[in-house]
Subunit: 128 residues, 6 copies
């Protein structure tokens, strides 16, 4: 593998989803999951997020739409926190989820708004 | 229905996917498809695209990612032309499709890059 | 938006998924979710469910099949209660889920039957 | 396998999608596809369509919604012809596709209306 | 239905997902779910798993990939236990999930590795 | 990127989908598609297919099932030719597609068998 790309991906991954979460994921990796953790970090975060033509804010909004459609709720919540870290406003997230609900259907929208409400409540609780 | 929202949607829809295409869609609508054409214009283009918190460039990039995942090729090509009209650069589109391929899988990416190549060739042919 | 269509949608939505649930959804809506709640009520329930050519029983059966395929479990349970309210019999629901399992695959069917069992138990508990 | 269920399924399959199509499918079956053709006939058409609690009209409308979401265009067109054979009116089909577009997203609806237009034109051409 | 195929399917189903689970599923079946349980046993396990050209190990790996993509988490966990019963090694499962993550996207992979970790912990706890 | 992994992936990719196809894909790559072609070769073929715990025959069968579910027909045909190159027998492919049809639904199976028939005819024509 490519250590430079891994380090770049690791840095971005920590900044977006939180250093604590990433360090725990890597520390808990065992023989079964280590290669996958490495792949996620290097390819998804290094080769994908590390590209130049889109901002992190752009990538967060794309991810919220995509992960909603793919129906992966735990990942959606993680990336919603990431979107807030990347400076996306609530208005931008709202418009993204409404656009997604129109293109991917109302039930996907209902689920996304329900999960978003949970995340906002958790973030507020963390902050207080 | 809401005539004001319909007119707003009609205006945006024409600007994004091309007046000629939209006028043909509406003119060809018959008893079977008229209500759906109306719904698309008012709901998708008026109530969705007509919102303020995202730019048209943002919405085009979201749509390319979402419509790829949903696997609707004709719509993808239409919205890729729309993305160019909305000022998205080829670099932004490239980064969007790579991000999408990582999150939704390589075959979705292969298909999107193949369709994009077709659209770029058509657009160049139109321009010459 | 179109107030008349909203009111029509609100009425149907309450009758199908229960007035209490709908009133809570609307009352709990905040700046982030209010527009989406409005959109769901007006478009999904007004412009969709408010059409004439299918009965509510027909629409409930369609929804059970569609929402199963889309994999949205909370919405599935809500609409299964709605199907009972709309007069669908257990035999009709059973045939719908078996048809869905054949066309969308056995795991979708296993999940739908598991969720249906939960809903029937809850409905019986409510009634006793 | 169960010959009685196969024969029942074969009968229904011919009545719904057309005897000519079914006979060609079975006649063209070779060592590679014969078991699958048998499975489709017995399992899908016998054990599924052969059940009593839904009418053929109900099952056709369910299939149009489900097969749209699943994105299988050739099967969609086949089942749209079947829906007409089963007595579904154009108004019922229109309402089904609009309901589907709201629950599964506008691009699925655009594709379904485009395919339906093709089928209606083919059916009219056949009839003239 | 075909009693012989049902008995064959029942035998395989018990061997793969565990006799206790299968007997409970069938014993708990009521008027609503009995036909579906019968269908799953006869078609999925008899007509599908009962075929000769693939081993049970092959079928388990296929199922892990397919059920991940379909997003059915409870079924995924059941079939992961089945894969271990069918002699799949952890290395084979790891390679299958990495292949799946590349073809169906990173979020599907993250979910599958998370669920696998849960199953391995449960299996170890059962064994101790 | 990692040149060694790229070279390993390139080698496998050529052996599985054909050197001519791969060389054409890479030769035709332009500024828009070059990075994606590189990513596919290194990530999908090097980091994925290059792993040790599954055989190429295993990976081909997984891909046929996965790409069918994902609904990417051109990729399915490419990988079906790859499966034959990797030594999968027609019986193994048949069993894989039947298993897939049961788990992901009959329409996915109908499409896969239709595409397979096309590929087998093309392969025979090439050979004669």
């Amino acid at each position: 593998m490519d250590d430079e790309l891994f380090e770049k991906g690791l840095q971005i991954r920590k900044e977006v989803v939180g250093a604590e979460y990433v360090e725990r994921s890597l520390a808990q990796a065992d023989d079964f999951s280590r290669d996958f953790q490495r792949l996620v970090t290097e390819y998804c975060w290094g080769a994908g997020w590390g590209r130049d033509a889109l901002s992190r804010r752009d990538r967060s909004l794309l991810n919220l739409a995509m992960i909603s459609i793919l129906g992966r709720n735990a990942e959606f919540k993680l990336h919603l926190r990431g979107a807030l870290r990347n400076g996306c406003t609530k208005d931008e997230i709202q418009d993204t989820l409404i656009q997604m609900a129109i293109y991917a259907g109302i039930p996907a929208g209902v689920e996304a708004f329900r999960l978003a409400k949970e995340v906002f409540a958790e973030v507020e609780a963390d902050a207080s």
